[in-house]
Symmetry: C2
Subunit: 637 residues, 2 copies
């Protein structure tokens, strides 16, 4: 006779410890909130799967404090070579080489690091935090979930009930139908449907019951939670089967260390260099009506297809660290949240597409990054009304579902670009590179993205600008006033759950401009409606941090004469020297030219409310301090 | 009745697992050589002690593969502020702020990281290597050592016999006489003489006997090995007692986040920012004839002295992570090696000086880096005669003892610079900054530093140049020919024990220049006298790697058409794409201007033989291929 399962109360249960689940959990590592992550896998992904990090994702890692380690391990990509069929039919010829660069970013737009290492760093960041209350259970799968929908967004109830069981994991699946193998040996296994291939570990009953306030499915293309909460994926299977191979090539192809699009009659190979002398290749194996099941493909057949395209160059196989075959499904979930925003789906669980633009892991991490701070604010009791809590949580779907839909549309067009280059090829590629870097994302107005009073929609000039509500704050380099150390801003905007009021104060060597900054600082310091978010009781982290970026020479600024809100004093550690920045030449790293890059007038300036996820909540005139009060009032914090 | 001690045979025994010992051991992590490190401490240094890394030391970490991690953790220093007494006697005033910069380096010259973390990364780098044969024993001290001097530099004998015992460690000592404490509580302990404060762990007999080929003492200012091998330190005690404090200051001193020299009548405080809101301060407490014993100093007395100097600014104490007091000894060992170069002393064991120029840990690591590759070459059997082996090992003393003597001379002058600034202050400070970065070090001619035939001494113009035998190869940034990825050269010159023949080939878009590079490559590939070092049997690492830095545009170069020595083929992994570099604009990181910085003519070029430690062994005309053969013949490799 089995004993009744134990019940544990947690704030949040996350199904799936892949990139999405771990990125979500990282929001909670510096809180007291209790989080459980379960995954049927026996541990982190060992090899293969996703690879490639966009700069926006690296900025997320910066905000989690793991950017430098990840960058140090990543392989950089500098150039893209395009090859096509030669006119005389004798194989492929190089058509052009273009820089793999988006100048606006001011840094590499793309680096290669395998999912295994990305998971490793995110996992270590959670485990190594001295105070985090996050538990990770591998070999564990959910069996059932019940949600009591009678209490929308009360904060002290646990309406989710999940039963878990220990499992022995089967092999992991990529997007779509897959077969995976290592060292060239196909395993011919794939994830089954229904209970996702797991089976009880000599125990056919649930071993644990968990009560939670919220549940998030980060459980991939075959998401278990998606089925439980009646979300369906909408879209199509594509009509091509691809092989993907990570291997050391032995080849005389001269561009084997560049990103390459190799166009031939039978399809376009995408080749991407990675570390350890390896390359990753996406190889079209078959297309048309009578497609093979990907799991029937063999490694040799994939390599035969590759050799045909790359001829007359040779391509012998050195060591193979991973390979797989797949048929792409381009689908998006009809909902991203359900049950009064008590249940959410993130990443592959609600969108699948071609892996070739390197958007799968990036988009999953960005989904999680969008959802995490909202759940954190709600769970920490920062939002004062149930309606406002639900409003904020609804923005997860209203912000991220359009991104997924745009991604599918992009995905359909992207490879056509290389299949039949047009006269505007360079321009089109640059547009595509910008898209994959997230530069064109703009979230719709909501409680967290507020347009100026009376404005319903952005006009054409603002739509093109970088500094508008709903877009991500572009990263820029400035110098700390107090010590001259340069920093990228997103590295400074660590994922603490805080909003930032970023005052671009202008040239405060001008007394009138300094006076304005002073008046704003005094106003903010005395504002009754902001006191609880800007200057809470000692020992509490303020929900809003005020930062200043001026463009005066540093020796013209008397830091300690600024109002206290810009350099608060603590009885434990003295002044805070890290809130005031200058847009000036640095001693070692050059000039960041932040005002110029962001299009900010040095005399006028502006104030930007930055959300905890680095997106712009509002853009205001520096004098318009009431606009700051209004932003947080509308959020009900 | 005690059992006789067990005997173990090792290649090398290292006494002391501080920065010097660990830096030495890192040379052996990717070899089969058996190394034991012993230290009486219970584990790595927990806090305090040395801090501050010069760029040359960071380049050593780059070559060990741990540069990025260490840089990511380090605190950068950008500016130096000089304060003096005000004319009206009312306290101190800022006199000037100068950049903490040496433009030639092209990167920050100095970063702050505490010894504990430096040791951590070096230790992890050894422990995490899959194949290293290095054992570290903490709580272990040597009891006796015997050296059989009858067999100088045979490679298959073990003339060193060391007995070890388990100990319980006492507190660790800094240079000179010290008293240390944490959190403001003085412990009033200090390292005792004789057996260095260790005591047997309930066992009064030796527990192990080790036979070794070589022994190196990295055991600090109170070195046990130094006494056993009759090396004496020559020099003086200085006439000042200092306190050193790592703490969070609560202060209204405006330059508290800059490197500061605060000059007052009672002495000059050196203040250096570090991470976690802390600063390190070196505080003169007393000078003159009736000096207190440092161990009688209290934290309060140190802070009283600090407050007097910094007045009228306030300086309250937040948390204190470490403090100590010391009286400087400026001394250098009369020998750095003994007993036919079977025994060596490294770091604080043979030189002690003021910690204020941040040279202790840096010089110790550089000593070890100088010795390590020589021992590695000898132990691996790469040097063909006993005389040549001893010649090479003798260069450790002939190269590093003059550096230590120069350092003492510098140390005596350095603080005087700030005590009484002259009209040439800026120039003198810049000279000092260059000195501490190692830019003025030039090793004397030897088997490993070879001047052109017939030249006995460098002329005045060459003495000033950067690219001369005996100087360190200045670091520079170039771009890989094959993939456009930028790299700093010393990061590429990993510590594998290999020499590099670095051919600055010039503008090989010019057919004649390309022809010259081709001919050199063919000659090197066919040279009988170089075959065993450049192209050994498959599977063996060549002792010499040939690298090419050209200055043509990359699209003018047909990489695979170059002679094989520049892009060797391996049956396991295809071509080696990482031996040819271009001095051109990179896609994301600008132009390194290597030819310009190194003073190399783009038409003429030159060839540089780089030793395994990054120092220049020879500078040759590109055509003078016999010069390369001669270099290695004289070394007897």
């Amino acid at each position: 006779m089995s004993t009744p399962p134990a019940s544990i109360q947690v704030d949040l249960v996350i199904i799936g410890a892949g990139p999405a689940g771990l990125a979500l959990a990282n929001w909670f590592r510096n809180t007291n909130l209790k989080v459980i992550i379960v995954d049927k896998k026996p541990g982190p992904t060992p090899r293969g799967q996703a690879e490639g990090l966009k700069s926006i994702t690296n900025e997320i890692f910066d905000s989690y404090g793991i950017g430098p380690q990840i960058t140090a391990e990543s392989w950089r990509l500098e150039e893209i070579a395009c090859w096509g069929t030669s006119k005389d039919g004798g194989g492929i010829v190089r058509e052009q080489v273009i820089p793999d660069k988006v100048a606006e970013l001011g840094k590499p737009r793309e680096t290669m690091l395998q999912q295994a290492r990305v998971e490793h760093h995110m996992l270590q960041n959670i485990l190594s935090h001295p105070h985090s209350n996050i538990e990770i259970r591998y070999n564990t799968a959910p069996v059932s979930v019940d949600v009591d929908t009678s209490c929308p967004h009360e904060t002290d109830v646990f309406p989710i009930s999940v039963s878990l069981e220990r499992v022995i994991a089967d092999t992991c699946a990529m997007n779509g139908e897959t077969t995976t193998g290592i060292n060239g040996h196909a395993t011919n296994r794939h994830a089954t449907n229904g209970r996702n291939g797991h089976r009880p570990n000599g125990n056919d009953g649930p071993t644990d019951r968990i009560s939670a306030k919220y549940i998030v499915g980060c459980d991939g293309a075959h998401s278990w939670l998606r089925k439980q909460i009646d979300v369906t994926l909408e879209g199509d299977l594509t009509d091509s089967v691809f092989g993907v191979v990570d291997m050391v090539p032995k080849s005389n192809f001269p561009d084997i260390r560049r990103v390459c699009y190799l166009r031939a009659a039978s399809g376009t190979i995408l080749l991407v260099p990675r570390s350890n002398k390896e390359v990753r290749m996406y190889i079209p194996v078959e297309s048309g009506s009578a497609l093979p099941d990907p799991k029937d493909l063999t490694f040799d057949r994939v390599m035969d297809a590759a050799r045909k395209i790359i001829a007359p160059y040779t391509m012998e196989v050195g060591s193979v660290s991973w390979w797989s075959a797949y048929r792409v499904r381009q689908r998006v979930g009809n909902h991203f949240s359900r049950l009064n925003e008590r249940a959410f789906l993130v990443g592959d669980a609600v969108h699948t597409h071609s892996p070739k633009a390197g958007q799968g892991m990036n988009t999953s991490i960005q989904d999680a990054y969008n959802l995490g701070w909202k759940l954190r604010l709600v769970l920490e009791g920062q939002i004062r009304s149930a309606e406002a809590r639900q409003d904020l949580l609804r923005t997860y779907e209203s912000e991220r579902r359009p991104v997924a839909l745009d991604l599918i549309a992009f995905d359909k067009g992207f490879l056509k670009l290389f299949a039949a280059p047009s006269a505007q090829f360079d321009t089109e590629v640059l547009q595509a590179l910008k898209f994959t870097t997230g530069l064109s994302i703009r979230y719709a107005p909501s409680c967290a993205v507020q347009l100026p009073e009376g404005v319903q929609q952005l006009g054409p000039s603002l739509l093109k600008a970088d500094l508008v509500p709903g877009k991500r704050l572009p990263d820029f380099r400035v110098v700390y006033q107090a010590d001259g150390i340069p920093t990228w801003m997103h590295r400074r905007l660590s994922a603490t759950g805080q909003f930032r009021v970023l005052i671009f104060a202008g040239d405060i060597a001008d007394p009138a401009t300094l006076r304005r900054l002073h008046d704003v600082g005094v106003y903010l310091g005395e504002s009754k409606s902001l006191k609880h978010v800007m200057m809470p009781e000692p020992g509490q982290q303020p929900l809003v941090e005020v930062l200043v970026v001026h463009c005066a020479e540093r020796d013209q600024v008397d830091f300690l004469a600024l109002p206290e809100i810009y350099r608060p004093w603590s009885d434990e550690s003295g002044y805070d020297f890290w809130r005031v920045f200058a847009d000036v030449e640095s001693v070692h790293d050059g000039h960041g030219r932040a005002y110029e890059r962001l299009g900010i007038d040095r005399q006028v300036g502006c104030t930007v409310v930055v959300r905890p996820d680095g997106y712009i909540g509002a853009v205001l005139d520096v004098e318009h301090v009431e606009g700051i009060e209004m932003y947080f009032e509308r959020l009900h914090v």
